[in-house]
């Protein structure tokens, strides 16, 4: 099979993977050196496809042959899809060629499981090893880890890769047992645990050999099972706490051709995925807990973002006086992000914060108006009920589309 045909099949098979970040690697450069590649710590998105996702890495599968039968996956063994397999050399060459042309920041390599978990993992490691050792490639490498593989192989993977990931796949044990019968949450967690232990060891012993300097991440499929956002966020929180993950990626389930009856026919609204990312960001960056964002079972609100929803449900904390309130609470105000919160703290050391400052900082005034007090502004206390505010601030409702198939975008 021609390289072009393989690329077509194995990129197509990888497009369901959500993660494509290339950030977090230590700084490296190739000036005056043999080989190729640099990392700056900040990933670069080199392109965007019409699905709105960025292209930062060459994201492909080594092969889409797979002996597992995960119901949500297009490459499951009972799926009738064209199959292909890259040779190790082909992936290495393709990565370098794309890198030289500035299409990508590196490689994100995953694979269907062939022969055995160990055999598959060995192949993935071989690609990374060849890139690093033979070709002195200093770009970003992310390897998907096969949870059942020998821990020694995972260790070697961490030596070459900037990031490792083990997919939790679904938010609950029951769903994994039902929809991914050959996978087991037990082994997935053990693999994540073993990666975290290696990361901890490396942190204690800086001179030890490299181990996944950009940490580990995972992916959860949303909407293939009945789990609600409450469950999903709690699972994410458990994973962050237990395995020091850099990211949890949420991938809205894409219905696949001839999908089995065990998974739904329709995708969840993409907005739900978006809200989960927003909530996840609040967990990681803003110090919210899953319990605060989702005190009860159910899904995140679609009409307002999670921070606004939290503020509306917790009016007793508001309005906050920007000139007095504890600095750590400012980012909790709707319409004020982490960066502007920092700027406000800096500014209030110089002088009192006024309403106009918020406008110049391009804070979302409509959102924050009921929640802040400044030197020259005070909202009418308790004048507006949360319900009314919510109606006022919610995203505009959209007319339902009766024939989505007929509507060209």
């Amino acid at each position: 099979m021609e390289l072009n045909d393989k690329l077509e099949i194995l990129a197509d098979a990888a497009k369901y993977d959500a993660s494509c970040a290339s950030s977090g690697a230590p700084k490296r450069g190739s000036e005056g050196k043999d080989g190729l590649g640099a990392t700056t710590g900040m990933g670069i998105c080199h392109s965007y496809t019409p699905d709105g996702r960025c292209v930062s890495l060459l994201k492909i599968l080594l092969t889409n042959f797979c002996i597992y039968d995960c119901q949500y996956c297009i490459n499951r063994r009972t799926s009738n899809v064209p199959r292909a397999r890259f040779a190790v050399d082909e992936v290495v060459k393709l990565t370098q060629d794309f890198y030289l042309r500035n299409y990508i920041d590196g490689l994100f390599l995953s694979s269907g499981i062939i022969q055995s978990a160990d055999y598959t993992m060995e192949q993935l490691v071989a690609v990374a090893r060849q890139l690093r050792e033979v070709h002195q490639f200093r770009g970003y490498i992310h390897l998907k880890t096969i949870p059942d593989a020998d821990p020694l192989l995972i260790q070697e993977a961490g030596r070459w890769a900037d990031r490792l990931s083990v997919n939790i796949e679904l938010p609950t044990h029951d769903s994994v047992t039902r929809l991914a019968p050959e996978k087991s949450v037990h082994t997935i967690k053990l693999a994540m645990g073993s990666i975290r232990r290696k990361l901890d060891e490396k942190a204690e012993e800086p001179k030890a050999p490299n181990f996944a300097p950009a940490g580990q991440s995972t992916q959860m499929i949303v909407g293939a099972d009945a789990s609600d956002d409450h469950t999903i966020l709690n699972t994410a929180e458990t994973l962050y706490g237990s395995y020091k993950l850099k990211r949890v990626y949420y991938s809205a389930f894409s219905p696949i051709p001839q999908s089995p009856g065990s998974v739904p026919l329709a995708p969840p609204p993409l907005l739900r995925e978006h809200r989960l990312y927003q909530a996840d960001f609040l967990l990681r960056g803003y110090g919210f807990t899953a319990g605060e964002l989702m005190p009860q079972t159910g899904n995140l609100a679609l009409d307002v973002d999670p921070k606004l929803a939290w503020a509306l449900a917790n009016r007793e904390h508001f309005p906050m006086d920007l000139n007095r309130v504890d600095a750590s609470l400012i980012p909790r105000i709707p319409g004020i992000g982490l960066r502007n919160a920092k700027r406000l703290v800096e500014l209030r050391r110089l002088r009192r914060i006024r309403w106009e400052d918020l406008s110049r900082l391009r804070c979302s005034l409509k959102k924050l108006a009921p929640f802040v007090v400044t030197a020259d502004y005070k909202p009418a206390q308790g004048a507006t009920s949360s319900d009314l505010l919510r109606k006022h601030m919610a995203d505009a409702p959209q007319q339902m589309n009766l024939w989505p198939e007929l509507q060209a975008a």
């Binding site: 450069g29 500035n102 051709p257």
Partner: protein
């Protein structure tokens, strides 16, 4: 002002030029900085200065470009040399400009705007007057400064991202890769450094309408414009890229709004994949969106993998019975159950509370900080840790999130009760002569009573069934005690307790009952 004057010369004549009403002509940040410093020193207010740029000089017919003004000179090296040679003038007071503001000014100087030098001088003047909020985006000038900085940084970022190199045939010689880009601001020098680090010894060139940079594998050369449009090269790598771009797009998730918000339209015409976008979008709208797979792959004949389900199941270590325990809810947020560890013949059993963060990952009891402390207790008491059996009252780690860490949480009575099933099994099969209960949780579980307190039993061994029960502190308690002397005291209580356990064992000295194996 004559072209080719050094920044120092420019600066020296600046005050006189302003007094004579002549415009100040500066070509780059280094020159501006030298002049601005001189003017600040002489307290020349912004309103009395007229700034011009070479491109806007009405009387010169030169094209409106920085590179042209330099007559093809070496921009980068001129800039760095000027930096090094800057004279320190003892008579003019040095303005105190913080590094962060200087960096902002330098970045903003790349912003193509007719009055950039005048604006930057106003900013630095205001700072000097003590108006330090001029740096904040909440100030009117500060807002403009920040948005200039942001636009320039964005342009640098976009240029890093959206430059596309095409490969030239080997026989054409160096440079092997050429790129064409139309930047909105003067960011080429910064961008060139990025690609020097990225490309190693490979030769390349980036051409823009105003200037070009060329890397020969060892040195960077800056020149005037060399090309007027993108190179027309047939590059096999580009064909593969287009295939990749088509295939990685998931039509089921069509969301052009996000795509367009990230790549402004002016970039698309120079991106090879730009030409694919309209057809991908319309295909997605016409059904590919529904089946979630592009035609190209969907058309090919498929293949299911003939393999039995049993074969697909990898030979993995099956979870032990304990791992499958669902007697309470703690399993859900733990990695694994942590059972006991120690020789079958052990006569002392040590019972802790529950596994911690490290134990949960390792699957072994007492490997974390508490375990390390316990090792020291063993050493002081003269007891061999390898000879005793160590386990916990509760087998799954109970915790709550605190930021990104797991904070130990004391197990509830019902969890202790649920887990007692496993402890009882361990006691029944090991038949220890002495059980050392560490902490209240362990004591309650071993004695099967919720009313007992640690204080009552410390130093007072009790009979329980066929064993003696010795109570000591939990090592985590010793770690937690803030007061150094109390810590020492608690530690010695642990050592004493363990010694007592060993003495009891020696004193018992009764032959094994024949039934025990």
């Amino acid at each position: 002002m004559k072209p080719g004057a050094s920044p120092a010369e420019l600066a020296a004549g600046a005050v006189a030029a302003v007094r004579a009403g002549r415009p100040l002509l500066v070509r780059d940040f280094t020159e501006w900085r030298a002049v601005a410093r001189e003017l600040l020193g002489a307290r020349v207010a912004p309103a009395s200065v007229t700034w011009g740029a070479p491109g806007e000089d009405l009387f010169s017919g030169a094209p409106a470009s920085i590179a042209a003004a330099h007559n093809g000179g070496d921009l980068l090296s001129a800039a760095t040399q000027a930096d090094e040679q800057e004279p320190i003038n003892g008579t003019t007071p040095r303005p105190h400009i913080p590094r962060s503001l200087m960096e902002m000014l330098q970045t903003a100087a790349c912003y193509r705007d007719h009055d950039r030098w005048a604006f930057l001088y106003r900013v630095i003047w205001r700072w000097q007057q003590g108006e330090h909020d001029v740096q904040s985006p909440a100030d009117a000038d500060g807002q403009r400064l920040n948005s200039m900085v942001k636009a320039v940084r964005r342009e640098v970022h976009d240029m890093h991202a959206y430059i596309r190199f095409r490969e030239r045939p080997i026989e054409a010689g160096a440079p092997h890769f050429v790129a064409w880009f139309e930047p909105a601001h003067d960011v080429l020098p910064q961008v060139a450094e990025h690609f020097v680090a990225r490309m190693g010894k490979v030769s390349w060139m980036i051409a823009t309408p105003d200037a070009s940079v060329l890397w020969d594998g060892a040195t960077l050369h800056q020149t005037g414009p060399l090309m007027s449009s993108a190179a027309d090269l047939i590059d096999a790598g580009e064909a593969l890229w287009l295939t990749y771009y088509r295939s990685i797009f998931n039509p089921a998730r069509l969301n052009t709004q996000v795509m367009n918000s990230h790549i402004p339209s002016r970039f698309w015409k120079n991106l090879p994949e730009g030409a694919l976008v309209p057809s991908l979008v319309s295909q997605a709208g016409l059904g590919a969106r529904r089946i979630g797979q592009v035609e190209a792959v969907g058309r090919r004949s498929g293949r299911t993998i003939p393999i039995e389900a049993e074969q697909a199941q990898p030979e993995r270590q099956q979870p032990s019975k304990l791992d499958e325990c669902r007697r309470c809810d703690l399993w859900e947020h733990a990695t694994q159950a942590v059972g006991g560890e120690g020789p079958k013949s052990a006569k002392i059993m040590i019972v802790g509370e529950q596994p911690g963060d490290q134990e949960d990952l390792a699957g072994q009891p007492f490997v974390g900080p508490a375990g390390k402390l316990l090792d020291r207790v063993f050493e002081q008491a003269g007891v061999d840790r390898k000879g005793v059996y160590i386990t916990n009252a509760v087998k799954h780690f109970k915790w709550e999130p605190r930021g990104k860490r797991r904070l130990h949480k004391t197990p509830a009575q019902k969890e202790i009760e649920a887990c007692h099933y496993w402890l009882e099994k361990e006691i029944a099969t090991r038949k220890p002569k002495v059980i050392v209960a560490m902490g209240a949780t362990a004591l309650k579980s071993v004695l099967q009573t919720g009313s007992v307190t640690l204080k009552d039993k410390l130093g007072h061994p009790v009979r329980h069934g066929d064993s003696w029960v010795v109570t000591i502190y939990h090592p985590s308690y010793v770690l937690r005690v803030p007061d150094e002397s109390a810590k020492h005291e608690a530690f010695s209580v642990m050592v004493k307790g363990l010694k007592l356990a060993q003495e009891l064992l020696d004193r018992l000295d009764v032959p094994e009952p024949p039934s025990a194996s």
